[in-house]
C-alpha cells in the first residue's frame, strides 16, 4: 500500500481522532464517578476519624492509664491481707491446739475431783457409822460427818459444773480447731492462686493499657496517613485533567495534519513536500500518546493505592480497643470480686473464733471461781483433818477409826491441793493463750483491713472508669464498622470504574498501532522522509497549543529520537508561588 496520498493517511487520522474523542468522553464520565466516590469515601473517613478522636479523648479523660497502679496496689494489699491471715491462722491454730490439751487436763481434774467427792462421801458414811458406834464419845465427831457430807456435796456439784462447762468449752475449741485446720491449707492455696491470677491480670491490664496509651499516637499517625492518601487521590485526579488536555492536543494535531495533507493536494508536489512534516507530526503524536499511557498508568494506580490506603488506615487498631479493654476490665473485676469474697469469708471465721475465745474466757472465769472454792475446800479439809486428829488423840484407841478417817481426810486434802494447783496452772496457761490469741486476732480486725479496703475502692473506681471508656469505645467502634462497610462499597465502585478506565485506555494502544503503522508505511514509501523536515518549524507548528512543560519535553525527545521523559506521579502536588 502506498500512503503517498491523503486517501490513506487522512482517514486513519480521522478515525484515530474519533477514537481518542470517544475515549475522552468515557474517561471524563468515569472520573466524575471516581471523584464522587472519593468524596463519599472522604466523608466516611471524617466520620471514622471523629469517632476515633472521641475514643481517644474519652480514654485520656477517664484517666484510664491510672488504673494500672491502682490494680498493682490492690494486688499488693490482697497479698499482704492473705499472708497476714495465713500467719495469724497458723499461730491461732497452734494456740487452740494447746488450749484443747489444757482443757483435756481440766477434764482430767474434774474426773479426779469426782473420785475425791466419792471418797469424801464414803468417809462421811464411815464417820456416821463410827459416831453411832462410839455413842456419847462419838457426838464430838458428828460435825466431822456433817462437814464431810457437805464437802462431798459441794465437790460433786463443783465437779459437775466444771466438767459440764469444760466439755462445752472443749467442744467449741475443737470445732474452732477443725475450722482453722481446714482453713489453713485453703488459705495457702488461695494465696498461691491469687499470686498467679493477679499477676496474670496485671500483665494483661498492663499490656492492654500499653496498647491504650499508644492509641493517641497511633491515631494521630493514622490521621496523618489518611491526609497523605487523600492528597494523593486529589493529585491523581488532577493529573487526569493534564492527560485530558494532552489528549485534546493530540486530536488537534491529527486534525492539523489531516487539514494540511488535504490542502497539499491542491498543488502538484504539495503532498510530497507535506509528507515529511506529517511524518514528524505523527512521530511527535506517537511519543505524546506513549507519554499519556505512562501517565495514565501512574495516576490510576495511585488512585487505587490511596483509596485502599484510606480504608486500611481507617479500619485500624482504634476499632478493636473497646472490646479488648472490656475483656481486660472483666478479668480484673473478677479478681476484685474474688478478693472481696475472701475478705468476707475471712471475716466470717474470724467472728467465729472470737465467739469461741469469748466462750473460753467465760469458762476460765468460772474455773477461777471454782478454783477459789476449791482452795477454800482444801483449807477447810486440812483444818478438819487437823482438828479431828487432835480430838482423836484425847480418846485414845477408841477413836482409832476416826483417826484413820482423819488421816484419810488429810491425804485427800493433799491430793485436793495438788488438783487445785494443777487446775490453777491449766487455767493460767489457758488465760495466757487466750490473751495471746486475742492479740493475734488483731490481724483480722477492721482497722487492719483498711488498706485493702482503700485499695479495693480505688481499684473499683478505676475499673468503673475503664469500663465506661471501653463501653463507649465499643459503641463508637460499631459505628466505625458501619462507616467502614460503606467505604468498602465505595472502594468497590472505584474498583469497577478503574477496570473500565483500564479497558478504555486500551484504546490508546489501538490508536498507537494504527499511527505507527501509517508512519512505518511512510518510511517504506519514502525512506528519506525522516530527514526532510525542519525541526524548528515542526516544533513551532505542533507546540502552539501546548499547555504543559511535559508536552514540550516529549516533543523535543520525539524530534531528537531520544527516550521518552520519565514522569513520576506526584503524591501530593505543587506549592503556591505568590507574586
Amino acid at each position: 500500500m502506498s500512503v503517498g496520498t491523503t486517501t490513506d493517511v487522512v482517514p486513519t487520522l480521522e478515525k484515530a481522532k474519533g477514537e481518542l474523542e470517544a475515549m475522552a468522553r468515557i474517561v471524563e464520565s468515569e472520573i466524575g464517578l471516581v471523584a464522587r466516590a472519593f468524596e463519599g469515601l472522604a466523608g466516611h473517613t471524617d466520620t471514622i476519624l471523629d469517632l476515633a478522636a472521641a475514643i481517644v479523648g474519652r480514654v485520656e479523660n477517664e484517666g484510664v492509664s491510672s488504673i494500672l497502679p491502682k490494680v498493682q496496689t490492690l494486688g499488693a494489699a490482697a497479698r499482704r491481707f492473705i499472708a497476714e491471715r495465713l500467719q495469724a491462722t497458723t499461730g491461732i491454730l497452734e494456740m487452740v491446739t494447746t488450749e484443747v490439751k489444757l482443757l483435756g487436763q481440766l477434764t482430767g481434774v474434774a474426773c479426779s475431783q469426782e473420785t475425791i467427792a466419792l471418797e469424801i462421801k464414803a468417809l462421811s458414811v464411815l464417820t456416821n457409822i463410827e459416831v453411832v458406834r462410839l455413842g456419847t464419845i462419838g457426838t464430838g465427831f458428828q460435825y466431822l460427818a456433817r462437814e464431810l457430807a457437805d464437802f462431798s456435796k459441794s465437790v460433786a456439784e463443783d465437779t459437775r459444773e466444771l466438767a459440764g462447762h469444760t466439755a462445752v468449752g472443749r467442744a467449741a475449741i475443737e470445732d474452732a480447731r477443725r475450722v482453722l485446720s481446714a482453713e489453713l491449707p485453703r488459705l495457702r492455696e488461695e494465696l498461691a492462686r491469687i499470686e498467679v491470677d493477679l499477676g496474670n491480670a496485671l500483665a494483661t491490664v498492663d499490656s492492654s493499657l500499653a496498647q491504650l496509651s499508644r492509641t493517641p499516637m497511633q491515631f494521630r499517625t493514622g490521621v496523618e496517613d489518611i491526609a497523605r492518601q487523600i492528597a494523593g487521590v486529589v493529585a491523581a485526579i488532577q493529573t487526569h485533567d493534564i492527560n485530558r488536555q494532552m489528549n485534546e492536543h493530540v486530536q488537534e494535531a491529527f486534525a492539523l495534519i489531516s487539514a494540511r495533507m488535504r490542502g497539499a493536494e491542491d498543488s502538484e508536489d504539495g503532498v510530497a513536500r507535506e509528507l515529511p512534516r506529517a511524518y514528524a507530526g505523527l512521530t511527535i503524536q506517537i511519543y505524546q500518546l506513549r507519554s499519556i499511557k505512562g501517565t495514565v498508568a501512574n495516576w490510576t494506580s495511585q488512585i487505587r493505592a490511596c483509596m485502599s490506603g484510606i480504608l486500611k488506615v481507617s479500619a485500624g487498631e482504634v476499632v478493636g480497643i473497646g472490646p479488648a479493654v472490656l475483656e481486660q476490665e472483666q478479668k480484673v473485676s473478677s479478681q476484685l470480686a474474688r478478693i472481696e469474697l475472701l475478705e468476707r469469708e475471712s471475716q466470717g471465721y474470724s467472728e467465729r473464733i472470737q465467739r469461741t475465745l469469748g466462750g473460753l474466757s467465760n469458762l476460765m472465769q468460772l474455773v477461777s471461781e471454782l478454783l477459789k472454792r476449791s482452795k477454800s475446800i482444801r483449807d477447810r479439809l486440812r483444818l478438819l483433818a487437823f482438828n479431828a486428829i487432835i480430838e482423836t488423840s484425847h480418846l485414845g484407841t477408841q477413836a482409832d477409826v476416826i483417826l484413820a478417817i482423819s488421816k484419810s481426810i488429810k491425804e485427800i486434802s493433799a491430793a485436793w491441793s495438788q488438783i487445785t494447783d494443777q487446775s490453777g496452772r491449766a487455767m493460767q496457761e489457758i488465760l495466757n493463750l487466750v490473751k495471746q490469741t486475742n492479740q493475734v486476732m488483731e490481724a483480722f480486725s477492721q482497722a487492719r483491713n483498711e488498706s485493702l479496703r482503700e485499695a479495693q475502692v480505688q481499684a473499683r473506681a478505676g475499673l468503673d472508669n475503664l469500663r465506661t471508656a471501653a463501653e463507649f469505645a465499643g459503641r463508637q467502634a460499631q459505628e466505625m464498622k458501619a462507616a467502614t462497610e460503606k467505604m468498602q462499597v465505595k472502594i468497590a465502585q472505584v474498583g469497577k470504574t478503574g477496570d473500565l478506565l483500564d479497558a478504555c485506555f486500551g484504546r490508546v494502544d489501538a490508536v498507537l498501532t494504527e499511527i505507527e503503522s501509517v508512519r512505518l508505511q511512510l518510511e517504506i514509501d519514502q525512506p528519506d522522509v525522516k530527514e526532510q523536515y525542519d525541526a524548528a518549524e515542526v516544533e513551532q507548528l505542533f507546540s502552539a497549543s501546548y499547555t504543559t512543560e511535559l508536552e514540550r519535553d516529549v516533543l523535543r525527545a520525539a524530534l531528537r529520537g531520544g527516550a521518552l521523559p520519565v514522569v513520576q506521579q506526584m503524591s501530593a502536588g505543587n506549592s503556591v508561588e505568590l507574586f
Binding site: E28, I31, G32, A35, R36, F38, E39, A42, D46, A227, I230, A231, V234, A235, A236, I237, Q238, T239, H240, D241, I242, R244, Q245, T547, T548, E549, M570, A572, G573, N574, S575, V576, E577, L578, F579
Partner: protein, 120 residues
C-alpha cells in the same frame, strides 16, 4: 464563612478544588469558564478566586483583568491554577492581577496554608 470562587472548565478539577476547600471550612462556588466566572462575581461577593488559565469562551487572564476593574475587587486575592509554567505566562497573569500561581496538580495542605494567610 469565607466565600471562594473556583473557575475551571474541567469538572474533575472543580470537584477537587471544592472538596479541598470545603474540608477546610470554606464556602465554594463553581464556574465553568471565564464568562461564567465573571457573571458569578457580578452577582455575589467573594473573598478569593482560584481560576484556570486556558478555558473556552473567556480565559483566566481576561477574566482576572475584568474582575480587577470591578468595585471591591482591587485587592481580592486571585490565584491561577494551571498546567502552564512558562515565565511569559506568569508575567501575563501577574499583570492581569494574579496574586499567585499554582502549577497543577496543587498540594492541598499548602494551598490551604496560603489561603489562610490571604483570607483572614
Amino acid at each position: 464563612m469565607k466565600r471562594i470562587l473556583t473557575v475551571d472548565d474541567s469538572a474533575s478539577v472543580r470537584q477537587m478544588v471544592s472538596f479541598t476547600l470545603r474540608k477546610a471550612g470554606y464556602e465554594v462556588v463553581e464556574a465553568v469558564d471565564g464568562k461564567d466566572g465573571l457573571a458569578k462575581v457580578g452577582s455575589g461577593k467573594f473573598d478569593l478566586i482560584i481560576t484556570d488559565l486556558n478555558m473556552p469562551n473567556m480565559d483566566g487572564i481576561e477574566m482576572m483583568a475584568a474582575i480587577r476593574k470591578l468595585p471591591g475587587y482591587s485587592f481580592t486575592p486571585m490565584l491561577m491554577l494551571t498546567t502552564e509554567s512558562q515565565v511569559e505566562r506568569k508575567d501575563a497573569g501577574r499583570k492581569a492581577g494574579a496574586t499567585g500561581w499554582i502549577v497543577k496538580p496543587f498540594d492541598a495542605d499548602k494551598l490551604i496554608a496560603v489561603m489562610q494567610k490571604l483570607v483572614k
